[in-house]
């Protein structure tokens, strides 16, 4: 592989890793916020346990979302400085707005939510998780604005060899954005719903102590997945309009793009039929049908797979352009980038993040397996007596 291929592969792999965690974050955040709302309104311990259990899974997943996101943010300048030179005056704006107007707040409020259990007043604590959810969605909006600009550079004209922003309204109403954003958010909800459903099916299948807990969770997961699937599929087909307008040959150019698209749609169609015609109508009895639970567990990873395939289709189909029709990926590569440099960062980023991703998924699996009783998020007493003495002084 030459330098360009390595830099592209590094971006593709770290980007896919990032999205695997982000898609679940986007889906779980509103579900946890809803659980927390029920807890705040009723004060019932069952709702508190639900919030803390699914909340812990949400935050363990979030950890990898952050660290992979850091690499994404810095990689533009490291490997693709030609992009900031040519289009930075336009492309940089949504990214700057995302970090300041969304992620900055999301991270601050998430810290308050995680460490604010039994410390913040009830309604303020609840406000934190809703603000985290809201800012996560705002974040997704600005990132998709930036990505859609690469797909179709709306709102900018070329002057003096680089792009300048002329129409901010056109940038944020880019037709490549308006259908894609709901598609992605729907995919997130679908993924979150499936994780809740699959994890609940595991406990029901194992006949663990928390039967009632996971009966409720499984139903919630199916309903969330149903809503998510309607949005995803609806806006998925709606995307063909703008795509055929702006990038007519997108899925014919390279086999990979067409393959990604085809398999995403296949997964989407089959699962949506399953949810709509089987899981949703039987949602009342489903928690009791033990034979069905292994199937629910098996299909849990499929939305993740579909989401990665979707990004493959969207991004590979854009090649060889970085900014469609304006700047090629090859021309955007940082001038001084050598094979040694990119190899170093490839090993560092892909190796470290890949390992951490595996560890993170194992930790999520373990949190699921040990069930609500072992959750540490928001626990209101020290875990063991040696810690008690010290915790008193904190």
């Amino acid at each position: 592989m030459d330098v360009l291929d390595l830099a592209r592969t590094q971006f593709a792999v770290t980007g896919s890793l990032h999205f695997l965690f982000v898609v679940l974050t986007l889906g779980l955040a509103p579900l946890v916020a809803i659980m927390h709302t029920r807890h705040a309104m009723t004060g019932r311990p069952a709702h508190e346990r639900m919030t803390r259990f699914w909340g812990q899974i949400y935050v363990i997943n979030y950890a990898l979302g952050i660290v992979t996101g850091l690499v994404m943010e810095f990689q533009f300048g490291m490997s693709w400085s030609g992009l900031s030179h040519y289009a930075g005056d336009v492309f940089g704006a949504p990214l700057a707005i995302e970090t300041l107007g969304a992620f900055f707040l999301e991270s601050t409020f998430l810290g308050l939510w995680i460490f604010g259990w039994h410390r913040l007043p009830r309604w303020l604590h609840l406000a934190c998780i809703w603000l985290v959810t809201l800012t996560a969605y705002v974040s997704a909006f600005w990132i998709m604005v930036a990505n859609s600009f690469l797909q179709n550079p709306a709102g900018a004209v070329e002057r003096g060899g680089h792009l300048v922003l002329t129409d901010f309204g056109a940038l944020v109403t880019n037709p490549m954005l308006t259908m894609a954003l709901p598609h992605v958010l729907g995919a997130g909800l679908w993924t979150g719903g499936f994780v809740v459903m699959g994890a609940s099916a595991y406990h029901l299948f194992r006949r663990t102590a928390d039967r009632e807990f996971f009966t409720g969770s499984l139903r919630l997961g199916v309903v969330a997945a149903f809503v998510g699937s309607l949005v995803t599929v609806g806006f998925g087909y709606a995307q063909f309009g703008p795509v055929s307008l702006f990038q007519p040959d997108k899925f014919n150019g390279t086999p990979l793009a067409g393959l990604g698209l085809g398999f995403m749609i296949l997964i989407g169609q089959l699962l949506q039929a399953l949810i709509m015609f089987v899981l949703l109508p039987t949602v009342y009895w489903l928690p009791r049908w033990r034979w069905a639970h292994p199937i629910l567990m098996l299909i849990t990873p499929l939305p993740f797979l579909a989401a990665i395939l979707g990004w493959l289709a969207r991004e590979v189909g854009r090649q060889p352009w970085l900014v469609h029709g304006r700047l090629t990926v090859a021309d955007a590569m940082s001038p001084g980038l050598t094979k040694g440099m990119i190899t170093l960062s490839f090993v560092g980023f892909v190796g470290v993040l890949g390992l951490l991703a595996v560890v993170d998924y194992l930790l999520i699996a373990r949190t699921v397996r040990r069930g609500p009783a072992a959750v540490t998020l928001g626990a209101d007493g020290p875990a063991d007596s040696t810690e008690r003495a010290h915790a008193l002084s904190l």
Partner: protein, 255 residues
């Protein structure tokens, strides 16, 4: 507008050093101040509620760099490539240590991640020092060298001092054996931020020269400045909520 956004950029970068400098310092001192596992747990628990709110300042720095100084962003990040890689990998390892250390019960697991926190914190401090020196030299020399190492040690010492002061403020008379007031913490934040503040003062003309055109800056202003009070308010809320005088709860830490 040009001056405003240069100021915002400087504020965020100085803020990052002043705030996250303490977290990095605490991480560096972790094995020294926490000889036993329970001691290390207390040290980490003391910094834990602030980490997310502090480290996000650097994410904001990168965002403003891209939005308001796009030509500098590409030049600096690709010019300092190996340092940016070590900085990011260190940051990742430090954060992974914090998030993962309590997720399994075994002693070796937690002790191992504590070493990652320490290693990552040293990596962050040294990479920062070297990056500042390379920036001061106008990115002309090789990014890693003897003067850079000197800069790294200076930044590491400043962060360690700030971290020590933070712990003496948050856990008075405990792990460090000393107590420090909020005023002392402010002063040590100044020490931690001094190197980068000096550099920014020197580089200000260069920054102003490379700032994005006014159409871009206007958009940034309209979209971001209305949220500034909320951003600052949220930060203040964090420091009020986890102030040592209020934090006398009996809560096990999540990190």
């Amino acid at each position: 507008m040009d001056i405003l956004w240069t100021g915002v950029f400087a504020l965020l970068l100085v803020g990052y050093f002043a705030l996250e400098g303490s977290g990095i310092g605490v991480g560096m001192l972790l094995p020294a101040l926490g000889r036993t596992q329970p001691d290390r747990d207390r040290v980490v628990a003391a910094m834990a509620p602030f980490v997310l709110a502090n480290e996000v300042w650097l994410v904001a720095v990168a965002g403003v760099l891209f939005g308001a100084f796009p030509s500098i962003e590409g030049e600096v990040l690709s010019g300092l490539y190996p340092l940016v890689v070590t900085l990011l990998v260190s940051w990742i390892l430090r954060d992974a240590g914090l998030w993962f250390r309590r997720r399994l019960d075994g002693h070796a697991w937690r002790a191992g991640w504590d070493w990652m926190i320490c290693l990552g914190s040293y990596g962050l401090a040294l990479s920062w020092g070297m990056a500042l020196v390379a920036m001061a030299g106008g990115l002309s020399g090789p990014p890693i060298g003897l003067p850079g190492l000197g800069g790294g040690l200076v930044v590491a010492a400043a962060f360690a001092f700030h971290g020590w002061t933070f712990l003496s403020w948050r856990l008075p008379g405990q792990v460090t054996g000393a107590s420090r007031t909020g005023g002392a913490l402010l002063a040590s934040a100044g020490v931690a931020a001094l190197p980068v503040a000096v550099l920014l003062a020197v580089l200000a003309p260069w920054l102003l020269e490379h700032i994005a055109p006014s159409a871009t800056l206007n958009v940034l202003s309209v979209m971001i400045l209305p949220f500034a009070p909320l951003m600052l308010g949220a930060q203040v809320w964090v420091w009020r909520t986890f102030d040592p005088r209020r934090a006398a709860d009996r809560i096990p830490s999540f990190f």
